[in-house]
Symmetry: C2
Subunit: 324 residues, 2 copies
Amino acid sequence: MSRSVRVLLLFLLLPVSAFAQELPAWNDGKSKQAILDFVKKVTTERGADYVAPEDRIAVFDNDGTLWTEQPFYFQLGFILDRVKALAPEHPEWKEKEPFKSILAGDLKGIAKSGERGIVELAMETHSGMTTEDFRKIVINWFSTARHPKTGKPYNEMTFLPMHDLLDYLRANGFKTFIVSGGGEFMREITDKAYGIPPEQVVGSTITTQYALVDETPVLNRLPKIDFVDDGPGKPVGINKFIGRRPVFAAGNSDGDYEMLRWVMAGQGPHFAMIIHHTDADREYAYDRKSDFGRLDNALDEAAARNWLLVDMKADWKKIYAFDQ
Amino acid sequence: MSRSVRVLLLFLLLPVSAFAQELPAWNDGKSKQAILDFVKKVTTERGADYVAPEDRIAVFDNDGTLWTEQPFYFQLGFILDRVKALAPEHPEWKEKEPFKSILAGDLKGIAKSGERGIVELAMETHSGMTTEDFRKIVINWFSTARHPKTGKPYNEMTFLPMHDLLDYLRANGFKTFIVSGGGEFMREITDKAYGIPPEQVVGSTITTQYALVDETPVLNRLPKIDFVDDGPGKPVGINKFIGRRPVFAAGNSDGDYEMLRWVMAGQGPHFAMIIHHTDADREYAYDRKSDFGRLDNALDEAAARNWLLVDMKADWKKIYAFDQ
């Protein structure tokens, strides 16, 4: 075999990652190194911490972890727009809370109801239609709605370093899942936005019911919560939908606290990270007192529990793909 | 380039399926041809019926579709063994139904309670422990329990032609899921038995609750049904867990009726099949009057609804891998 053929074959056999810089939108430092070290450790065959590919399950919160959650959860933006769109058919909403606050633009009042309250509001405004009709409304909303600060479509408000992380984990045999308080709403964009297909999105669910309409089967969305995937609901949701304990988990708020603890209590190696929003210039800076994505207990305990605390301002070269 | 190198390269570029005979455990005939025709149609790029790879979702009932369900659902065998194992701690069961029937070996009495009754019995006997403890019990049971007719481990009682079908669909870009009335029980063996990982198993679920035991997080299984994935629950479960409508569905009983109708009502091409148990010698022959896997309405309507009715006796060369 000639030398050039040998070189060519060698080139073809090398993994792509050997050529691409890993986690390019992350600054070099402790956070990036901790991720690289963990992945190297669990993918080193015959190493003490080797994890078989089928057990390489990684879970990511969505709001505030994969995309921005300020000045309000994006799904809440969707809900506000739905309430406004439906208001002409509901004159009684002018006097009825929380619709009254929404129509008056009083975000603080809505925020006080917490993630659970917002899920309930979602159930209220997103029922009374089939699953197919709901999909169309969501897809249409994403194509027209814009973020109030950046003017960008919401599905572009995703964090470039987290894309890098998803790509890097997948290149190393991980299967990536979203585990979020949000619901079916997310499923319409996660594949395009993150390469995560709908069946790898664990979220809050509304009750649906099979029915025949003119002999055509449909699923009707009922105004009834089926499952709230937040706080202690996250490990429950992971067990229900995925059926095994992840080895990698990322979150950014107290709503992820139980998920991170449960993942870290697994046998064998495991990794947990919290995205700390520290960058008021490029994104937002908030933690203990935020209405959305409050980070308090989880911030207190991160160091003692060996959860990586990612400092957005220091650790990330870029926030969004559209950043200069 | 030498001729031998060119031949070698050509060989490497050809898909594996070009060399393997498709669906080898199926007899040539209408059923096999219908499957081949459908898959060819939806995978032909630029064809009128082309389905993008991400939409190639195939769902399979488990009991009676992928493995045997006689003389009783295998999960019922597990339940019976659990009741017997726990009976010494529950002297009151000797006088209490349905435990009394179980301890007396009265299968007919249990069967009359239907799939829902069995799910409830599963909830009753499979709660009061953590998810980890439950896994261990299931894994241990599969390693020791044997089918009463064949003497084989239950996880070997799977249908070879259905393995072929799963392989064939996956080789053509389909993602395969189980959608079954059974619960977490199945998840411990589906990866080894069918190459279907736990996160691609949609089933009935028990309610679990996050708790700390000596500061260690666990999920406790409560004696409460969360979701029954049977009949009209199957399309509901598919929507909840998978989040999109499959294009291929296989079942064998009236419990699959709504799933098949919902899949066939999707836009674009779709395919539904029913396994008809017609082989008393090699497996079992039953349909309208069976206590387990009753096939009645779905049998009446199969032809009119263009569902492929697979005749096990005529269509399958072999039933099990261990058959001579």
